[in-house]
Amino acid sequence: MFAKRNASGLPGLFVAMSLSLVFIFLDEKTTHLQPLRYALAYFSAPFYFAGDLPSQATQTLVDRLHSNDDLRETNAQLQQQILLLQLRVQKLAAMSAENVRLRELLSSSSRLDDRVTVVEIIGMDPDPARHEVIINQGANKDVRPGMPVLDSEGLMGQVVVVEPYSSRVILLTDPTHAIPVQVNRNGLRAIAVGGGRLDKLILTHVPDTADVVEGDLLVSSGLGQRFPEGYPVGVVSRVKHHPGLPFALIEAKPSARMNRSRHVLLLRNDNKNSDGK
């Protein structure tokens, strides 16, 4: 790590800067540096897991401090919730069977159930301009880039970088992320781009006359072959028509709780059962 003879002065700076520029170029435009990044990620994993320790410790502490009554109460609530959910599942089973039959009648491909695993968020990107989180499974658990991530309320994002023991997930609200959606009410298609804030998505290039109103639910459309069809993405929070602009200004609030969920679901489909036509 230590340079034997310190190369201070302009020649050293010149070499270091050109090397960095070459690295930046290679990493942006090609995939040649992926193996290097992957190898170096072995060294970054301990930092991520150690960085999660404080919040994990507080969590355990809070768990320990729950009173008996509290626990009994939550237990009762959860029992009730389970009953309700089971009731819904019963209906759902019949409905999904019916759906499969109808799809067979229409001779379109059937939709499989999605295989999910529960993963834990162990870190966040320290740069507020980038909405990325780190989850605790990586190549060791066969995570692959492009796998969608959701929480109990809706889609959260997708895996972008897989490291040996962790992966980076880009959130829907990152300004460089876009997801194909449709309005649940009428099937109108649009693209939801991240708004740069954890509670904002922007629908781009929607005509001024399109039928979108506040409160409309946006679901993933499955176009683009990345996200499965039919998961909630957000709720339209603001629609503004401006005569001087070619498109309507439409904002939505993501359904997923971007900054609260700790346990999230990783969808392990290989982009085939999302309605492969």
Binding site: L13, D27, R130
Partner: protein, 155 residues
């Protein structure tokens, strides 16, 4: 002995620069890695130089998951200027040292921003430059703290 001090403080700096924090606190996070580098360059300018800074920066790139080379570039730039200044700075009072540190961290952040704005999104507004100020403000305590871990060189 001193290389151990360097490696340990660097590990701590890496740890604190990716430690998850609430969103409002994120902007107030000092540039720990830059501070550690500046400290050791001022102390051991012949051992810690531009190429050390380059490797340290590459490590930070991997850790933060950003384009490889951007922190390597900015930190080697920082190391170059810190190397130019170290003889004078050693005799400065603490507040003047803090000003120099603010300038050095500023150079580093400008370089990061130039690269970042050309490859991805950057934070708008003055909030981006807050770590620069915070780094300078904690510098006097930071340097005293790190000073506990080694004997002062006889200048």
């Amino acid at each position: 002995m001193r290389s151990w001090g360097f490696v340990l403080s660097l590990i701590a700096a890496y740890y604190f620069s990716v430690l998850p924090m609430p969103l409002w606190a994120e902007l107030w996070r000092p540039e720990w890695v830059a501070l550690v580098l500046i400290y050791w360059i001022f102390l051991l300018p012949h051992r810690v130089g531009i190429f050390t800074a380059w490797f340290v920066g590459l490590g930070l790139d991997v850790l933060k998951g950003v384009t490889l080379g951007q922190h390597a570039l900015s930190l080697s730039l920082l190391a170059f200027f810190a190397g130019l200044l170290h003889r004078r700075v050693r005799f400065f009072p603490a507040w003047q040292q803090a000003l120099v540190v603010m300038m050095l961290v500023g150079i580093h952040m400008v370089a990061v921003r130039v690269v970042q704005s050309s490859v991805s999104s950057v934070l708008e507004g003055v909030g981006y430059w807050l770590p620069c100020l915070v780094s300078a403000l904690i510098w006097p305590w930071f340097s005293v703290f790190l000073g506990f871990f080694h004997r002062k060189p006889s200048t």
